[in-house]
Symmetry: C2
């Protein structure tokens, strides 16, 4: 199975590398990192890079498309060349997927009209402005469109797609390879479980960083 991971400046590294590792760990996928222009891709933190070996023109179709999130999504949402590439891949993909704010880009490409979908908790409600029906779930599956919540949720999403494609046993072996037996030291990974003061603090930090709670769709 061929998997394309879209990269762009301002991407969140774990959004891309979580699913990458699950698909790679299945040992049944060929994965390509793809960007508008090949080469180094600056992370959202500005403290490192990923690398795209392929440009859009070299990757006209794939079985799986993964659109990771990150602050750079906003620029992608207004980039017709990127949106057209996504639309093209979606025509023949088996699975069109996103992690975190990557679902905003699927929405901007017009793929989420009337579709239940999720995103990072901070921006999930903004999906409504793009025609989607926001869901407070970790992984949302509607036809061949699979959207995941924030950052780390791409691991869960990819394991699920591996199971659909290759069966539960390969997905379990992949989970064991990743030793994905999570033991977070705290129970603060969702707005439902985090202490309210932590949610408030984090919202404040983001709003200062992005300038708006509706950063992606203002």
């Amino acid at each position: 199975m061929e998997v394309a991971i879209l990269l762009y400046n301002g991407v969140t590294a774990l959004d891309a590398i979580g699913p990458y590792e699950a698909f790679a760990g299945s040992m049944k996928c060929k994965i390509k990192f793809v960007a508008k222009e090949k080469g180094l891709i600056q992370l959202d933190s500005k403290m490192g890079y990923l690398h795209a070996e392929y440009c859009y023109a070299e990757v006209p179709s794939m079985d799986v498309l993964i659109v990771p999130g990150g602050i750079g999504c906003k620029e992608l949402m207004n980039d017709e060349e990127t949106l057209n590439w996504i639309r093209q891949l979606h025509k023949t993909s088996k699975w069109t997927t996103s992690v975190c704010s990557g679902s905003m880009v699927l929405g901007a490409a017009g793929l989420l009209e009337g579709v239940p979908a999720t995103s990072h908790w901070f921006v999930c409600e903004s999906l409504r402005a793009l025609g989607a029906i926001p869901q407070e779930e970790r992984v949302v599956h509607h036809g061949k469109i699979v959207t995941a919540a924030g950052v780390s949720s791409g691991i869960d999403m990819a394991l699920q797609v591996v199971a659909w494609e290759f069966g539960v046993e390969i997905a379990q072996a992949t989970q064991l390879t990743l030793e994905y037996d999570p033991k977070p030291p705290f129970d603060a990974g969702s707005v439902k479980t985090a202490p309210p003061a932590i949610v408030q603090y984090t919202k404040k930090v983001y709003t200062e960083l992005m300038g708006s709670e509706n950063f992606f769709v203002e």
Copy 2:
């Protein structure tokens, strides 16, 4: 706080990017990707690259050292320049850490003599040959040495270090930023929970891939 992430050809991407994202998400760390030679670093899957912006000579000391795992560890374990750099950083580090088979490299550098430590489940017992006391735990903490189990466990490890350094509230906010509320679709992430047939299958695949169950210390 300054964090160095060691990269080398044959590294497992998520071993490096899991902790990276947690330290970056704390918004309190400066992170440097460091390798023997700067530039593109080929992943163990041979399907992509990470990138090192710094070489050893440019990074003589850091608060945190992270040694990720991967099949390329074996070469590092015999590379005196790398082992000397690790020993040097360890002298003044606040935390010397590893993910997955990265603990083999700490062991080869002589840092695990008599130290309780962990690694990926498939190779954990091999730590004994390097003087360590293998532990079947996800994160093992002994003085300033913190070792994590396979691949995805680096996220849990880094959140724990963030909590020790910056307090529980910052660690919780970081967990919320990563939306690290894991919901694996299966319960097969550890040899204790995976179906025995899956463990057997995975061991067979690895043994074929590596040529030995004692690959790192044979």
